[in-house]
């Protein structure tokens, strides 16, 4: 079957089996390997992309269901000579060890900072009107992204640095 996707601003038509996930389409058909396959079951967050602006696990999306949708991957938010604020902060704060989860962490944090700025509450927010970006808020809001190296303190430092750079 055929599906048309806009990925990082470019339109692509892909031909695929009905079982294909967006993760496999992005990596194998479109040749964008920045999005990582970790668990392939929505538990680790390594495959996080922005789907019509919202963060989702691309391993849990059937490509066939996303005809006409707009996708942003790690390759779409910056380049080696023009890093996004979050990419720059992860480098600066050493927000990783092996680096495998990093694209998912950065895509997830990109959406998370916008959610916080829009006043979206989290489970640990004192009231439901939104909250400041404390360590507890970041840990809760990023809990869908695992880091087996456990670089969490530095990941949070990097996210905080990027949020301050943006405001």
């Amino acid at each position: 079957m055929k599906t048309t996707l806009t990925v990082n601003g470019r339109s692509h038509q892909v031909e695929h089996d009905a079982r294909r996930t967006l993760l496999d389409t992005i990596r194998d058909d479109l040749g964008l390997p920045g999005t990582k396959k970790g668990c392939d079951h929505g538990q680790c967050g390594a495959c996080t992309i922005l789907l019509n602006g919202e963060r989702v696990n691309s391993c849990l999306c059937l490509t066939a269901m996303h005809d006409g949708d707009d996708i942003t991957t790690i390759e779409g938010i910056g380049s080696p000579d023009r890093l996004s604020a979050l990419q720059k902060a992860f480098v600066e704060k050493d927000g990783y060890q092996c680096g495998y989860c990093t694209p998912g962490q950065i895509m997830s944090a990109t959406a998370m900072l916008r959610e916080v700025s829009e006043g979206a509450p989290s489970y640990v927010s004192g009231d439901l009107d939104g909250a400041a970006l404390t360590d507890a808020e970041m840990a809760e809001r990023m809990s869908g992204n695992l880091c087996r190296c456990s670089a969490y303190p530095l990941i949070r430092e990097a996210i905080l640095m990027a949020s301050e750079a943006e405001t």
């Binding site: 849990l60 509450p121 489970y123 507890a136 869908g144």
Partner: protein
């Protein structure tokens, strides 16, 4: 994953043509490990009229395709039914909540490890095969409402809040007629067919969940206890709504999660609390009524103590008595 036919529904009638898929966060996962093996999946995400939250009388009609994120963030829900926002935000991860739908959340399957492991016997997956959980490891299993055939618990947080809020499920039948079923009556116990989990008939489609008008001045909370502080299923949860009428409790509504094959409710416990002054002695007596004398599986015996403490802590919190010592729930992590 086994080969599938993919169809995109263009009308409600098309939804009867196979296994419905919407958010896919649970179904696709189960298809990958071949616990669910539909021949045809029918994508309903482009059907009109299922993705909005609309005022209805003084309540809300929540379309079946409304995402968990959209529902938890809705300003009306945050103000009038904060219990629902809290329960949704207690579940899954931000990525999953962006995709998971209201209808799909109600229909999510148990996380019993034997249901997930196709090399093990499971009556829910293959009726008549047996239940490997019975003699196996079972700390996530249910306390109430089990049968000889199945000991599994329903994992939803959202459905527990909806039960405490007396919500109704709107269902469109194959013939086009719509009916509404209280959440409490929507699920059926496992009995001798644990594979049949709800009252949905063939061709039925969940179109909405309907919340009744909010109770003025009600205090609400969702208290969830789990193995880690975030992104984990509940071991026990309690959804509660209480209105303080002077010094006594009124409009008490309580539902309990991860302790039964569906959100658990106990009307005798509510009757003990309604119209009474809150006190530790009363809460202890109500807990005696709520908690069963024994667990259906030795590994869930701990849930009797956990449910008791979580129940009392929830009532203390709702009635202003404060958290009881030793029952605090960690809400932050490092």
């Amino acid at each position: 994953m086994r080969p599938i036919d993919y169809r995109r529904a263009s009308s409600f009638d098309d939804a009867a043509a196979g296994q419905i898929i919407a958010g896919g966060t649970n179904l696709l996962d189960l298809m990958k490990i071949e616990v669910m093996t539909p021949d045809t999946v029918v994508d309903i995400t482009r059907l009109d009229g299922l993705s909005t939250i609309e005022a209805e009388d003084d309540g809300l009609r929540i379309g079946a395709l409304v995402t968990n994120t959209m529902l938890a963030n809705d300003a009306r829900v945050r103000a009038g039914w904060p219990l629902l926002s809290r329960a949704i935000l207690a579940g899954a991860s931000a990525q999953i909540r962006n995709k998971a739908t209201t209808g799909g959340n109600l229909l999510q399957r148990t996380r019993c490890p034997y249901f997930y492991d196709t090399s093990q016997a499971c009556n829910k997956r293959s009726p008549g095969e047996g239940c490997a959980a019975r003699g196996g490891a079972g700390r996530m299993l249910a306390l109430f409402g089990t049968s000889d055939q199945c000991l599994a618990a329903h994992p939803s947080d959202m459905a527990v809040a909806l039960a405490a809020l007396q919500a109704e499920v709107e269902i469109r039948g194959a013939e086009g007629r719509r009916r509404r079923v209280p959440i409490h009556d929507f699920y059926r116990g496992p009995g001798d067919r644990p594979d049949i989990e709800t009252v949905l008939d063939r061709g039925d489609l969940i179109t909405a969940v309907v919340l009744p008008r909010p109770l003025e001045g009600a205090r609400q909370t969702y208290r969830k206890v789990r193995d880690r502080a975030s992104y984990a299923f509940a071991l026990v949860s309690v959804a509660g709504s209480v209105t303080m009428d002077g010094e006594t409790m009124s409009d008490v509504s309580l539902a309990y999660g991860s302790v039964a094959p569906h959100p658990w409710m106990d009307h005798d416990v509510v009757a003990m609390l309604e119209g009474e002054r809150p006190s530790d002695a009363l809460f202890q007596r109500a807990a005696d009524r709520l908690v069963p004398d024994s667990a259906p599986h030795p590994d869930t015996d701990y849930k009797r103590t956990l449910l008791r403490r979580t129940f009392i802590a929830t009532l203390r919190q709702l009635t202003g008595l404060g958290d009881a010592t030793g029952t605090d729930i960690a809400r932050t992590h490092g």
